[in-house]
């Protein structure tokens, strides 16, 4: 789960991590009031969307598609600037490297007091899968894409790890600060910031905190000029406060609905709808479709505990997709019985109507009963028993490759 920069900075403030003063706004008027109240002369006007790359993004009119402004983060040095930037951002579509061409309509702004920057750094905390603990990653090259830094100058990236039981040792922390070439007073500021961030990361069950840029001001204080925080959703049960930070407009409606029924759904670009039990098998099914010349329209894992209701919902979600030219169901029955899935398919198709060809592959528990139920129904369905046959059949019934 991701949150907005203004929400992340409120968490930073609570945790003693230095940030500039700032105000969250939803209208041009609020933005102007924020400018007056900050009394900073120079402010940053920042689009609030969950995707990164805002600074280099472009704003378009959602109706005409015309370019409105370049850059989703602007530095304003007057009240007029704030008015211009805020009206060019709010209600417009921001397209960045991470949003894809569809972009995101911006409905939240953050007006932040300007900052006297001496140098920009990069700092992130994330789960290191190989070391199986929290990794602290810092770089002297701030304000740029960290993946680019990793490619071009990996020596600029410095790392330290949290001990999951002891926390982080002071000596390692100061070693990290020294590798960034910080002066003694800036080292202290950096160490405090990292300690507070680590505490925040653990107390709030984060999966990532990224600050890019982290800046050193002229008086050697380290300040988080940006803030990207995401949470581990598996820990939601101990953080009921998260619900209030959730911005559903940032999430795909269909993915949210699928999630509520215990399904994992990811939208893709193709025209073959997939319904599979198990994440690995669902990915493998997509891979097979592609290898046989087709394009999957979605990833859909009905999960291990799927029942009649969730399978019927899953099938209904797939049928909603207007791009569909065919559906492939791939079930390896274990606890889930193939005949039960067959009856769900028959019911859901009866309710919604099945307008496209359907290929069903059943293997494992009650596969014969499942196939029999489908063949005896009045559905137009091709039943197969292996993964290879499934890939071949779905591409054939939709009339060859999709592209």
């Amino acid at each position: 789960m991701n949150i907005h920069e203004y929400q992340a900075k409120a968490l930073f403030r609570e945790s003693g991590i230095p940030v500039q003063d700032g105000v969250h706004c939803k209208s041009v008027e609020e933005a102007l009031n924020a400018y007056d109240s900050l009394g900073s002369g120079i402010v940053a006007v920042k689009s609030q969307i969950h995707a990164g790359g805002r600074g280099k993004g472009k704003l378009y009119s959602p109706d005409s598609g015309d370019l409105v402004m370049e850059g989703g983060v602007k530095v304003a040095s007057s009240r007029d600037d704030v008015e211009d930037f805020a009206s060019n951002i709010l209600g417009h579509k921001l397209v960045t490297k991470q949003t894809g061409p569809a972009g995101k309509i911006v409905s939240n702004l953050y007006i932040e007091a300007g900052c006297d920057i001496a140098h920009e750094y990069y700092l992130a905390l994330l789960i290191d899968r190989e070391e199986q603990t929290v990794l602290i990653m810092a770089s002297t090259e701030g304000g740029v894409d960290i993946e680019e830094v990793a490619e071009t100058s990996p020596e600029a990236i410095h790392k330290a790890w949290l001990d999951p039981i002891q926390g982080i040792e002071d000596s390692r922390l100061f070693f990290l600060a020294q590798s960034l070439g910080l002066s003694e007073s800036a080292q202290d500021s950096f160490a405090n910031l990292v300690i507070n961030l680590s505490r925040l990361f653990i107390d709030r069950d984060c999966s990532m905190i990224e600050i890019n840029p982290l800046v050193r001001t002229a008086d050697d204080t380290m300040v988080a000029l940006d803030a990207k925080v995401s949470f581990d959703e598996n820990a939601n049960f101990r953080h009921p406060w998260r619900e209030e930070l959730r911005d559903l407009s940032e999430e795909s409606e269909i993915e949210v609905r699928a999630h509520e029924h215990g399904l994992s759904y990811v939208d893709l670009e193709g025209n073959i709808g997939c319904l599979v039990n198990g994440a690995g098998l669902a990915m493998a099914t997509m891979d097979v479709i592609k290898l046989y010349g087709g394009e999957p329209a979605n990833f859909l894992d009905i999960g291990g505990g799927a029942d009649r209701e969730s399978i019927t919902t899953a099938f209904g979600i797939i049928l909603e997709d207007p791009r569909l030219e065919g559906i492939l169901v791939n079930i390896f029955g274990g606890i889930i019985r193939c005949d039960m899935v067959a009856h769900c398919i028959i019911e859901a198709s009866r309710d919604v109507g099945l307008g496209v060809p359907l290929v069903v592959r059943f293997s494992g528990t009650n596969q014969i009963e499942g196939r029999k139920a489908l063949e005896e129904s009045d559905l137009d369905v091709v039943t197969v028993s292996t993964l290879a046959e499934a890939g071949e059949a779905i591409v054939r019934v939709i009339g060859g490759g999709s592209r």
Binding site: E130, A235, A284
Partner: protein
Amino acid sequence: MSIWINEGSKVLVQGITGSQGTFHASRMAEYGTDIVGGVTPGKGGQSVPLPGRKVPVFDSMSEAVSATGADASVIYVPARFAAQAITEAADAFHGLNEGGLIICITEGIATLDMVRVVAHIDQRPGVRLIGPNCPGIISPGEDGGCKIGIMPAHIHAKGRIGIISRSGTLTYEAVAQTMGVGEGQTTCVGIGGDPVYGTGFIDCLEAFEKDPETEAVVMIGEIGGTAEEEAAMWAKANFSKPLIGFVAGATAPPGKRMGHAGAIISGGKGTAEEKFAAFEDAGIRIARDPSKIGDALLSALVDAGLRES
């Protein structure tokens, strides 16, 4: 032979009185697994009827291990209590047995809980964790066998192939395809789809290398992390038997979590392409098409002189 478990393994079920726990305990007992008891805090003293036997329920793992001499435990408790259950099992096996095998089926455990659990287990030599978020481990025997987990037992048969996988149903798919070319299994291990977990590919490969009855291994990876690359590098230097590899998610878009918490391409890392390349570099026979895992195994066995055709 098999790795880590056999028909003599004595198994406890943590969460045995829950619906999942009771259901799977029955299925395991049916297959021949020696279920010796269960643990549910607050329900000590009760018993649970399983096919062919009635097993006692204990309040804690330490009581259960002392009373039964169990050397393995399987966990079916809900995600928010599962980390505690693993820790309790690790302490009991370490303190009373000098070791033991813990299989955690539960999906959805908080990542930082797992970070702490893995660090805790690292300090208790002899204790091995498989999972979480996995189907478990199975070693088919002549008649039934030892199954600790949730996989459909009837698709397996005793044989000479080892299988390691990050996935559940895709493991069953691989099993079905090996059966399709007439090969059974020594042991199948589902290592799970989470980012932080216990036993990894290399642990399994090391054990299969030492197991005289395992003659070839099928390794099923997926996108996310670099475990496959590391396993490939290890295998290149240390693994002498035919090895067949597949990686799921070649068509997955970056930045999206594909069902499993661990299956995500982030920062351009963890793609299927990189993993296939690492496999090829290590001399692992790859199946790019998941419907051809059985065929890849067959040709690897033929090339190694382990089969005529």
